[in-house]
């Protein structure tokens, strides 16, 4: 699917009233749940301050932390691999599968592997990746794309999911559309695979440099199956996911569940350290993935986007996201965080319209558990996009150049004031031209009949 840019994609999705209902319902529900559990903690702001500083510190000392993590994972019996880009990471996974004669693997939901298109890359090697998170399974079975970080099938309702399951996994049986029955069907379908497939791929929420512990946070138990029963486990972790100290988890495990699902704690959190004889996989591989993250790190304003812990609180509060839904962002990372992460990871020329996919209202910053100043980064990226010519913007540059000349010269400025007065009334709405869209929704301020300067000169 080729990208058409946010404005066009948003217009397309806004026309889908079912989608808008699903998204509005979902985002308002999670918003309320989050607000309730966040209000319970008297020290929420202190936790946010700590969370922001922990991640900023990890990024500022990243070379040291990555080397520490590599050492401690290796000491604990794991293997550490490095990947400059998605293709390298996918090749490592394919090689691990091929060397062990595996044509199939089970996968726990991972944004990093979605980002690098791992499933498609493996398919090209004849290796089939089975998504085990319920929503990811729904997305995979319908050959669709995720539309939300936390609930990727948020755009589908129960009737659509029932029809999908009957078409794909129900083996001819008729299903009820009750969520309980649909979840039961997913359990039935995946159970045998959990018990028998000997290779699994996961992402990582956190990787602790001090102890070599990798942590997956989830709800359904599919993550526990993937990291526990297979003989071989491969974890793909973006380099920005490292935490320096074990103790840092005491902050993150409070911030993440409350911001994400609006729970005091999600059902299952699994921190494991390397390989343990008699408990879990016999072989553990950790792939440390760059894939554009160092480009983000090089931008002093934009690098704060790497603090993101993928909670999706910013999506649910965003007045833009909660109307357009996730697909309009044309990226694995939708919503406000996507609007600053995608253009930085892929290059501004790949997603030049995303920094404008926001009203700059600031709600995303208010809820961000690691205090990413998303509006600040949006404005910064808009500036970069215009300066680098990625956003077109030649007309805008000329316009502002002209304004600068007018404001610099008394003669031109007073001339412009006189010209503006001539246009009073009939020109309040611009009937055509590049700015007509702007005045469609807004009134131009009416110039006064007499300017201050004229009044000053004319006073007796």
């Amino acid at each position: 699917m080729t990208n058409q840019g946010f404005p066009a994609a948003a217009r397309r999705d806004l026309a889908d009233s079912q989608l808008r209902r699903n998204i509005a319902n979902a985002t308002s529900t999670i918003r309320a749940k989050r607000a309730k559990v966040v209000a319970e903690l008297p020290d929420w702001q202190q936790l946010r301050d700590a969370g922001a500083a922990i991640k900023a510190r990890a990024l500022a000392t990243l070379p040291e932390q990555l080397e520490r993590l590599e050492r401690s994972v290796t000491d604990a019996g794991g293997n550490v691999h490095w990947a400059r880009d998605g293709a390298e990471a996918n090749a490592i996974v394919a090689e691990i599968a091929r060397d062990r004669g595996r044509r199939e693997l089970i996968k726990v939901k991972s944004l990093a592997t979605d980002e690098i298109g791992m499933n498609e890359a493996l398919e090209a090697h004849g290796i089939h990746a089975i998504e085990t998170d319920l929503a990811e399974l729904i997305v995979q079975l319908s050959d669709d794309r995720p539309s939300h970080i936390l609930v990727p099938a948020i755009h589908r309702n129960r009737a659509e999911i029932r029809a999908l399951f009957e078409r794909t996994i129900a083996e001819g049986r008729t299903l009820s559309e009750e969520p309980e029955a649909l979840a039961e069907e997913a359990r039935r379908y995946l159970r045998d695979r959990f018990l028998s497939v000997p290779l699994a791929v996961s992402g990582a929420n956190f990787g602790v440099a001090e102890t070599g512990t990798v942590c997956v946070v989830e709800s359904e138990g599919n993550g526990r199956f993937c990291i526990t029963l297979p003989e071989t486990l491969v974890t793909v972790m973006g380099i920005e996911k490292v935490l320096p100290e074990w103790r840092d988890l005491e902050v993150m495990l409070q911030l993440l569940p409350r911001s994400s699902t609006g729970e005091r704690m999600n059902p299952y959190t699994s921190p494991w350290t390397g390989v343990r004889e008699g408990d879990g996989p016999r072989e553990f591989h950790l792939i440390l993935l760059d894939a554009g993250r160092t480009d983000v790190l090089a931008d002093e304003v934009g690098r704060q986007a790497l603090r993101c812990i993928r909670c999706s609180a910013c999506l649910n509060v965003c007045p833009v996201y909660s109307r357009t839904g996730g697909h309009a962002y044309e990226s694995v990372y939708p919503g406000p965080i996507g609007a600053i992460l995608t253009p930085q990871l892929q290059g501004l020329d790949q997603a030049p319209t995303l920094p404008w996919a926001s009203s700059l209202c600031g709600a995303c910053y208010e809820v961000c558990p690691v205090k990413i100043d998303i509006p600040q980064v949006l404005v910064h990226l808009r500036g970069r996009a215009v300066r680098e010519g990625a956003a077109g913007g030649a007309g805008e540059r000329r316009l502002f150049g002209l304004l600068a000349r007018v404001f610099n010269s008394r003669r031109l400025y007073e001339g412009a004031q006189r010209a503006a007065r001539l246009g009073r009334g009939p020109l309040m709405r611009l009937p055509f031209g590049p700015l007509s869209g702007w005045t469609e929704m807004r009134d131009l301020p009416e110039p006064p009949a007499q300017s201050f300067r004229d009044w000053w000169r004319a006073r007796p």
């Binding site: 979902a26 529900t29 999670i30 008297p42 202190q46 301050d49 700590a50 900023a56 500022a60 070379p63 990555l66 691999h81 490095w82 990947a83 390298e88 085990t132 998170d133 319920l134 729904i138 609930v151 309702n157 999911i161 969520p179 649909l182 979840a183 359990r187 159970r191 959990f194 102890t211 070599g212 709800s219 359904e220 138990g221 199956f225 029963l229 074990w246 103790r247 988890l249 005491e250 902050v251 495990l253 409070q254 569940p257 699902t261 005091r264 704690m265 299952y268 959190t269 699994s270 921190p271 494991w272 350290t273 343990r276 879990g280 760059d290 160092t294 480009d295 790190l297 090089a298 690098r303």
Partner: protein, 207 residues
């Protein structure tokens, strides 16, 4: 592969420049447990129940009776017991975890374990791979988990728990934090208890 390692590290160093500012971490959030162990136990029971797990209070020494009663009510016939769990299960065929395969575990009705500790504020039980908790597969595959929590094992909040678990992490024991039965909200955000992990969680609080 070492090419990639050097390349990524070099890119990181270049991106950061020669002397990046390293912020201190302000830790002004609540850490010290307020000395109210009784209150913590009450709060733990209340919050576990909110996840739709079932909480049973048992006097010291009456855990076996509580376990037997729950198993009777749920129709449990065969259960695996964590190797270090000191309780006898009356009326239930007990299977030792002698490297049971996932398929073997799938045929059992229930698993009985202790825990490493429990967190009051979040209603969480924590398993740490010690003999009382068993290896991870036994608390994952059977559909019903009975977990015995000693009142003295309940800590107030997440920071206290993470401090205690540092030992398990450095000893490379795998840790699982369990907050209620497995659940999904993936369909219209309607919470459904019980997807892949145990669908029934019974927490027995002793003392």
């Amino acid at each position: 592969m070492s090419d990639a390692r050097e390349a990524v590290l070099a890119r990181v160093r270049q991106a950061l420049g020669p002397s990046p500012t390293v912020p201190e971490v302000p830790r002004e959030y609540r850490v010290a447990a307020a000395g109210d162990p009784g209150g913590a136990v009450e709060r733990f029971c209340e919050r576990v129940a909110e996840y739709r797990a079932t909480v049973t209070r048992a006097e010291r020494g009456e855990v076996e009776g509580a376990l037997a009663r729950i198993c009777r009510e749920r129709g449990t016939r065969r259960a695996v017991l964590a190797p270090g769990a000191p309780w006898r299960l009356d009326g239930v065929e007990t299977v030792a975890d002698d490297a049971l395969s996932p398929g073997d575990l799938d045929l059992l009705d229930a698993v009985v374990t202790g825990c490493a500790l429990a967190i009051a504020e979040t209603g969480t039980i924590v398993l740490d791979g010690s003999p009382r908790c068993g290896r991870r597969a036994i608390t994952l595959v059977p559909d019903h988990h009975l977990c015995v929590v000693g009142a003295q094992q309940v800590v107030a909040g997440v920071p206290e728990a993470i401090a205690v678990l540092h030992e398990a992490a450095t000893a490379r024991r795998p840790i699982t934090l369990v907050s209620g039965p497995s659940a999904t909200s993936d369909i219209e955000l309607r919470r459904v208890e019980g997807v892949h992990g145990p669908r029934v969680l019974d927490v027995i609080v002793e003392g």
